[in-house]
Amino acid sequence: MELWELGAWDIAHKVRAKEVSAQEVLESHLARISEIEPGLCAFLEVLEAEARIAASRVDAKIAGGEDPGILAGVPCAIKDNMNIKGTACTCGSKMLDGYISPYTATAIKRMSREGAVVTGKTNLDEFAMGSSTESSAYMVTRNPWDPDRVPGGSSGGSAAAVAAGLSTVALGSDTGGSIRQPASFTGIVGLKPTYGRVSRYGLVAFASSLDQIGPFGRDVRDVALLLEAISGLDTADSTSVERPVVPWSKRLERPLKGLRAGVPKELLGLSVDDGVRDAFYRALSHLADMGAVIEETSLPALRYALDAYYVIAPAEASSNLSRFDGVRYGLSTRGKALDDMYHATRAQGFGPEVRRRIMLGTFALSAGYYDAYYLRAAKTRTLIRRDFDEAFKVYDVLLSPATPTVAFRAGEESGDPMTKYLADAMTVSANLAGIPALSVPCGFARPSDAGLTGRDLPCGLQIMGKPFDEETVLAIGYAVEASVREEMEEKSGRMRRNLLLSKECERVD
């Protein structure tokens, strides 16, 4: 077995036990990146030199008898909307052309302190707005399971890098599903932690009341381990909260007997592909076999979650993105007068999807429409939260498919932006309620557009939990994972070993 095939848990243990050095682990990954990356397009930048320094520091600590941390020598890729001092941070946009971060995000600092080795910055939909990475101004990341399909988004680069074995774990950000949906599309595990669990300091804001940084890994234990490293209060982010950081990675095995899980019928009522639905029900029956009590339930306000989200997120984005004005950083298109400069810079720097959402958000906040759109959406959000609060009086967790379909083909355009937004239908409500939610692979399904010869693709199950109860969410994820472990390991191992992306992707400088 190659070192790049190992998980974070195994790497950290081997590095700490001096069975292998952090530098050897890194070199194995860098070789894998140079072989696969030209055809995958997961990385906007590989930080080779910086990674070598970080890995040698971990080895030096171990040689000096110091504790190297719980992620000793674990390669980690970072979505390129998080700042790392001295490196570019593009957010997948031309708007941040030439910008070099003057500081490092708290989550990255914490993970590096625990011995993680940052290997590079990964591709994303521009400013994290999208479900496919196709709105990146630089390139479209491919899905390693089928290069004609998208890896999901917006954290598609991070997900593809982990799925393809270019990185052991990765960080993403999730505003409406941007960790869980790509995790589902690429057959890996992704967690959106409770709002406030992980500091957002150093994450470029999209929608501040919804954004949360979270981990990707190839199994639940790795995701739990990375969560341990990045969680905790940070005074630099006023919305981060003081809650104990639990050794989640050691609390995954727990009896499910008597555990109560609800399945909101409003989510299953959405158009879910048959294959995805079948895989979901198979996982439910496995959980029931293990003693969990599973019932259909109703959270009526979830029917409006996507509508409320597509008012609130663009509204917050239109405000957050007003900082990109050509004055302080990034792109600047000079004009005769100040207003000309603002207008020209923003028209040139933002791509179509970002402009669309800025316009939608500006409209929803504008005089005459605020009450009808933004205020109504914010009140609907209260109903959604109330429904979750009521449901969690009865159930320990709520379950749904993570996505209505498996990965869709790149380049699919319907003409109606809302069709694409439907990819977020399962996931947005957890952001609106601020609760933790995990996507864990639950099997494979045939894409509805694949025909008879098409191959099956992975799909995820979503576990939503009570605020700050990541422990239960991860434990159930671990049980779901166990039910498909053999099939997943066999198929994903084969996918990674046989991965040969002959066509190089097109990249824009």
Partner: protein
């Protein structure tokens, strides 16, 4: 409902061509057609939710001065700076540069 797209683009400080405004209007109308469902919900007496779910709400920091990023470091990122300040074109009303 007819949206004044030019007005919205001005508020958003986005220069869009007439063609872009037209296609943007089509997109917005399609999204708004879905979102119209919000109008049918009974929200009588419901308070809005704007942010943090912690009962204590957003925590305020102590008002202690702490070193942040230096002026020099920030100005280095600027597309144009001089004598410790950002350089921008004059406002139109002030008659050019």
């Amino acid at each position: 409902m007819k949206i004044d797209m030019k007005h919205i683009a001005d508020l958003a400080k986005l220069r869009l061509s007439p063609g872009e405004l037209e296609s943007m209007e089509r997109d917005l109308e399609m999204v708004l057609a879905h979102i119209e469902r919000l109008a049918g919900i009974d929200l009588e007496g419901v308070e809005p939710t704007f942010g943090s779910r912690e009962p204590a709400g957003v925590r305020l920091q102590q008002d202690d001065p702490k070193p942040g990023l230096s002026r020099a470091c920030l100005l280095e990122l600027a597309p144009s700076a001089r004598d410790g300040h950002y350089v921008v074109p004059a406002r139109e009303s002030e008659g050019g540069r």
